[in-house]
Amino acid sequence: MADIIGYILGKYNYWMAVVLMMIGLYAMLAKKNLIKKIVGMNIFQTAIILFYISIGFKKGATVPIIEHNTHVIDVAKYANPLPHVLMLTAIVVAVSTFGVALALAVRVYQEHGTLEENEILSELQE
């Protein structure tokens, strides 16, 4: 029992990220409103970003900014900078995709007058 609790608590960052990913994925697939799907897409991407950032954490470590007069750099004292760099890129990509998706949603609304997918599909079939 104790090691199951230890197993859950020791890696709870992965659990959180997976739960958020699944919420985002469900919203993207199951919801009918376009804006809800776009928000679900953003949640999914944010969950992946959180997952990556949690990889770079080291216990007791600080920001990866090296003081000027440090001679010996103990690598375990600084957080891993590479996931932060990758996720800066991923955040920008997520924001860009969000912007393009919103522009497309505005165009869909201009053409069909609604943002509900089933109404648009029934209108398209006529």
Binding site: M22, G56, F57, Y78
Partner: protein, 274 residues
């Protein structure tokens, strides 16, 4: 569709959870991710690039090529909004005008009737009165926001910050102007042509610095070779190269943020915003 979605989600969730016993525990400093490439970045960043903030040096120097494409991605988003939404000829059917002396709002069905009158000012369809406090406070805050944004860009070397963060804050200051006043005021300050030219200029600066490195004889984005034209040693020229690309990134991000807000809030007409 909901049941298919539920099944897909449960399957993916189970697959992801199946791997968890194999992953290193949270906060482990001896995980493979922290032992392979990252120690080299942490140890050598200060000597090789004279930039204490390791995230900035990795972003703009070691993996600078990725950052260039990331800036291109955000440029593509701005370009896509422009191509998809922009309509150039807008036939305005009605307008709202406010009499400046008395505060009376009139709704006119003849377009452009009172545009040039000095007693009437044009207001948005969704304008609400009692915005004096908001307008005054924003007018005070915006210069300080922009100053902070410039600080964030310039101090990316020594503190968390850099081009992207500073650019977003700069863009946010102009968007605040557009929200608190109206879109036309924001467009008077930064019009559409300058936004488009700035977004292209920023990425051009980044790619241009890389191309200059190429023409001077070294690989693409190898800032060390810039010491030939800057006159400093190669380590400091890397620091200056990083600063140059961060400035380019900030210009593009600012312009694209403002551009996306303008096009989406006005549905491409650039007439009335939020």
């Amino acid at each position: 569709m909901r049941y298919i979605a539920l099944i897909v989600v449960l399957l993916s969730g189970l697959v992801l959870l199946y791997t968890e016993k194999d992953l290193p525990p949270w906060g482990d400093p001896n995980s493979p991710a922290s032992l392979h490439v990252s120690p080299k970045y942490l140890r050598d960043s200060l000597q090789e690039t004279a930039v204490p903030n390791v995230v900035t040096s990795v972003l703009a120097d070691y993996r600078g090529y990725d950052t260039m494409f990331e800036t291109t991605v955000i440029f593509c988003a701005g370009l896509a909004c422009f191509v998809l939404l922009r309509v150039f000829k807008v036939e305005r059917k009605e307008a709202h005008y406010r009499h400046k002396a008395t505060g009376l709002i009139i709704h006119v069905k003849v377009p452009n009737l009172l545009d040039n009158s000095s007693e009437f000012e044009r207001v948005d369809t969704m304008w609400v009165p009692h915005d004096l406090i908001l307008k005054t406070m924003c007018r005070f805050l915006i210069p300080f926001i922009q100053l902070f944004a410039l600080y964030v860009v310039a101090h990316g070397h020594h503190s968390p910050g850099g081009g992207f963060q500073g650019g977003v804050i700069l863009g946010a200051s102009i968007i605040l102007l557009s929200i608190s006043f109206d879109l036309r005021t924001g467009l008077e300050r930064v019009n559409e042509r300058s936004i488009s030219l700035m977004s292209a200029t920023g990425v051009f600066v980044f790619t241009g610095i890389g191309a200059i490195c190429l023409f001077l004889g070294s690989q693409f984005l190898n800032y060390g070779i810039l010491s030939k034209i800057l006159g400093v040693d190669p380590v400091m020229s890397r620091s200056w190269g990083i600063f140059g690309v961060e400035v380019g990134v900030a210009i593009t991000v600012m312009a694209v943020m403002i551009g996306i807000y303008n096009y989406i809030s006005s549905e491409g007409k650039l007439d009335e915003g939020l």
